[in-house]
Amino acid sequence: MTAIAYETFHLGLRTTRRFIRVPANFISIIFFPLIQLLVFSQLYQDIVQLPGFGGQSSYLAYLAPGQVAFTAFMAVAWSGYGLLVEYRSGYIDKLRASPITHWSILASETVPLFFQAAAMSAIILVVSLLLGATIATGIGGFLLILALAGLFGVAFAGASFIPALLTKSEQATSTFSLLLFPLMFASTAFVPEALMPGWLQVVNDWNPISYLIEAIRSLMVIGYDWGKIGTAILTIGALGVILQAATLWAFHRLAR
């Protein structure tokens, strides 16, 4: 166990360097959430007058939690791609031929995503605050939001690792990441569930991102709603167990 921790730490420093040393990473993750935050909050500012919004006065306040969650999504949606490039270059083989636990190779890809997703989400959260959004729960809520975003990132990363490890194709992997995008729009990021058509409500009920968004929204707008926070943690946990178990299985297949 200590061996895995030691190896994950040192290999994780490497994957973190790989992330930090490419400024394009920051831009590609933040760009869309930032644009949506800036433009949609102006474009649809009157949408909050619809009854479904429950008397909320600012669309920015409604929009911000979704964009914070979207940033965590963007931070990990392509994570399988990097793993695949290193698999193809032979780097993963070189690590496999060194005296380490193979799980630490995967852990070193996954664990840093907690910090990457949390850090990127923090940027969008701070921008939201500068634009006028508030956090009802203060600094404690701020940190809890980032922790939830980070956890979601780790859990959801499997959705990119799995196609990467199974297809071993960069094109397939990045295309699959694009196919995940509708999850963001079929969530309560832009409008409340009450305003969705029936079929979309069904999708939304099964959409893990919505549970993250609702927990963040409660922390920003209402207060510590432990029911929503607990539901979000359970949902993220379940998602993480399913996706990461499948990732472990797919990673193990490589060794044959």
């Binding site: 490497r14 070189k94 005296p99 071993k168 060794a255």
Partner: protein, 333 residues
């Protein structure tokens, strides 16, 4: 005196991919400590598959492989501790610096931090990479990447160094420089197993080699012995003759050289006769003395010694193809 325990020991190794081709088809060989053993063969012969099995990256279908006394299938971690590996293309993290690359390798082998620093300095110096130690490896040239990859395989002072096509894709200058490097590592006592499809490389570097073709070892031995084994040097006697006269002169040469060249050692050559002799340089004076006769007119002499290519040709019936390794094209998806 008892012979030293082999450091690499392979018995009847078989690898079948997906129930189809036998990529490795019953390979047996041993490498003694300190040897520089070469696997010579064309692309697709089974060299890389064998190496991947020895490096614990691939599970064999059948047979036994042991490295430094440990079974690669059942004790892979013990093997990995004692193994340095550099594959066909340098496997480096483009976003780490040269120094970071070596330090991480040391960490993964659980070396103490102070020793890692010392060793990294030493290897960077040795490989001529000190001046680029702080640059990202993504900015390195092909030769620099090779040297760093090799250095990262050496950080933990492995008992065995396994190299797959170590000079593939390098320009001639970088190749020669890397050969010198490998010779130095070998002279320092590290056992090495390398694969190559370059005759010159195998000839120059390897103390012993195995020619591998279609997943089988067709012949094994020291390069010099292998070359001598295919017989003899060849001396081509070019004759000064008009069309009709050439055949007469050839007959005359055969008559004059009777007794010093075996009857089956003669062969017609477009410009004269070629004769096979055990050692060309010592045979030539005798040949010329015997041929000092008015009936033949020697226009020129040409001597050739057998190369590994001749060895390869003899045992496989083909010339080795000196071309870059084919990369499979990924279709679909």
């Amino acid at each position: 005196m008892q012979e030293a325990q082999p450091i690499i020991e392979v018995r009847d190794l078989v690898k079948v991919y997906g129930g189809e081709a036998r990529a490795v088809d019953g390979i047996t060989f041993e490498v003694a400590p300190g040897e520089l053993f070469g696997f010579l063969g064309p692309n697709g012969a089974g060299k890389t598959t064998t190496i991947r099995i020895l490096a614990t990256l691939l599970r064999q279908t059948d047979g036994i492989a042991r490295v430094a006394g440990f079974d690669v299938a059942t004790q892979p971690k013990e093997v990995r501790r004692r193994l340095g590996l550099a594959m066909q293309t340098p496997a480096l993290d483009a976003f780490s610096t040269g120094r970071e690359t070596l330090e991480l390798a040391g960490r993964l082998h659980r070396m103490p931090a102070a020793e890692i620093r010392r060793r990294a300095d030493e290897l960077l110096e040795l490989m001529g990479l000190s001046s680029v130690a702080k640059k990202l490896t993504g900015q390195y040239s092909g030769g620099m990447k090779r040297r760093l990859d090799l250095a990262s395989a050496l950080v933990h002072r492995p008992q065995v160094l396994i190299l797959d096509e170590p000079t593939e894709g390098l320009d001639p200058q970088s190749r020669t420089a890397l050969w010198e490097e490998l010779e130095r590592i070998s002279n320092a006592g590290t056992t090495m197993l390398l694969t190559t499809h370059y005759m010159e490389e195998a000839d120059r570097l390897c103390t012993r080699l195995a020619i591998i073709d279609n997943g089988k070892i067709v012949v094994e031995g020291q390069p010099g012995d292998l070359k001598r084994g295919i017989g003899a040097d060849t001396v081509v006697l070019q004759l000064e003759a008009t069309d009709g006269d050439l055949e007469n002169q050839r007959a005359e040469v055969r008559r004059l050289l009777e007794g010093i060249v075996a009857p089956d050692g003669f062969a017609d050559h477009p410009t004269g006769v070629s004769v096979a002799v055990p050692n060309a340089s010592s045979a030539i004076p005798t040949l010329l003395r015997r041929l000092d006769d008015d009936s033949v007119h020697i226009a020129g002499l040409q001597m050739t010694q057998p190369s590994l290519d001749n060895v390869f040709l003899k045992y496989t019936g083909r010339h080795i193809r000196e071309e870059a390794a084919d990369q499979p094209i990924i279709l679909g998806w």
